[in-house]
Symmetry: C2
Subunit: 229 residues, 2 copies
DNA sequence: TTTTCTTTGATTTTCGAAATTTTGGGCGTA
DNA sequence: TACGCCCAAAATTTCGAAAATCAAAGAAAA
């Protein structure tokens, strides 16, 4: 029975990302110990490792919780995704070769196929898991040739927290036609190797998750102070 | 005897950041257990938490190590710092008020004071710890008004790993005059609320840690393919 | 000599219980 | 009723040892 710890870790991560636990729910060690038939320390260890990647909140002497959901958090995660994905995608354009292009095209094809099925059936729910993974694959491939493992790891961490925050499939489904168009636009920008266009596309695609706009750029006025805000 | 765990965590973090353990050194649980007079599980837990913030590498079944040093790693950390600090600083310019300006000025003053002392004594070593902390304080204040806790937390994580990688105080000292000038330039850009200038200043300040330039922007040529590389 | 297998010692992982700390309720007092 | 205090239950943290796994050295085979 190898790597029991790793199995529990993966399973817990899946349960957390799919939102099985409510937001802010306390993760009781005893309960999980029974779920996995292991000791309390093992559970504790796994939860620590999950807090490593932001999927679990840890507070000294008061245990572990599934993170709270808030507009702030969603906002910050989106902002970070925009920052990392635009940078990663532009670097990929600079550094990636035909091999990267082909992998991105493949990922888009798979995603596109699922999106078409969803649109024709009119129901996202049964394909939600499939679609979710395909979208993640597409976005990860987008930045895959950026040349920085650190950037990619950081992005995964943010992406999974982002995914965890999305509750209702319905909300998401409302934007499905836009989604399809935007993914296509991103692919096109990549194949055209147009960085400025890429920035715009990624921004447009992600900014939909913002309930209020990101702060606009300010320009110094006569006094050298900000004129915005 | 409250919060023993937290104390061990802080102490270990300090030891790691100051480079007490060599790069890639195995962190033996037994040794640390004796250092802190605690049990193996406590050590294990602390090491897990330190791997949370990238100060320790963890590999299943083969324990914990102080991270290896490599040009790649230094490069990636620098790149990430540039990305996060330029974004954070520009957002602070947009969102921060006079209160932020004054805190940044204060942090700069403290740092500047130490730097002057270093330059007049001609020896960085005795003030290294002090200077190190003052520089961190300055850089953290720079992005402090950015409005995103996530961005700030991510920055700390990157910054500490970056600090851990810097070995020789000598190498650093070679650039001391530049450092002083650059910190001043960053402060000026902040007070002028000039975002474009800020980007340039932060870039110049950090890019010195790169042994080779970051990939330059590519422009689509007639075939829509990259012309750089 | 080189390769592969096996044994042994060291390290990591897991366990269940004891010690510590927090949480929540009940009680008395203002 | 509101407030503070104390106690009991529940949860978290720490412990030391047992179980599982890995790594190095030596023996056997090619």
């Amino acid at each position: 029975m190898a790597a029991q710890d790793a199995d529990i870790f993966d399973d817990m991560r899946h349960r957390l990302i799919t939102g099985e636990f409510g937001y802010g729910t306390k993760l009781r060690a005893e309960k999980l110990r029974q779920d996995y038939n292991c000791s309390a320390s093992t559970v504790r260890e796994v939860l620590f490792r999950l807090s490593t990647v932001g999927l679990v909140d840890f507070q000294e002497q008061r245990g572990f919780r599934s993170p709270y959901q808030s507009v702030e958090r969603q906002h910050e995660l989106t902002h970070m995704r925009i920052l990392l994905e635009t940078e990663g995608a532009c670097l990929s354009i600079r550094l990636g070769g035909v091999e990267w292009e082909s992998r991105l095209t493949a990922a888009h094809h798979k995603l596109s196929h699922i999106e078409t099925r969803v649109r024709s059936s009119g129901d996202l729910i049964p394909l939600l898991g499939l679609w979710s993974r395909a979208e993640q694959e597409f976005h990860e491939t987008l930045i895959d040739a950026c040349g920085s493992g650190l950037l990619k790891r950081t992005h995964v961490v943010i992406y999974e927290q982002f995914r965890q925050q999305l509750v209702s499939a319905e909300t998401n489904y409302g934007y499905f036609p836009e989604n399809i168009r935007e993914h296509q636009a991103i692919l096109d920008a990549a194949l055209q190797r147009n960085e400025d266009l890429m920035r715009v596309c990624v921004n447009d695609h992600l900014a939909r998750n913002l309930t209020r706009p990101l702060p606009r750029k300010s320009y110094p006025d006569a006094f050298g102070k900000s004129s915005a805000i």
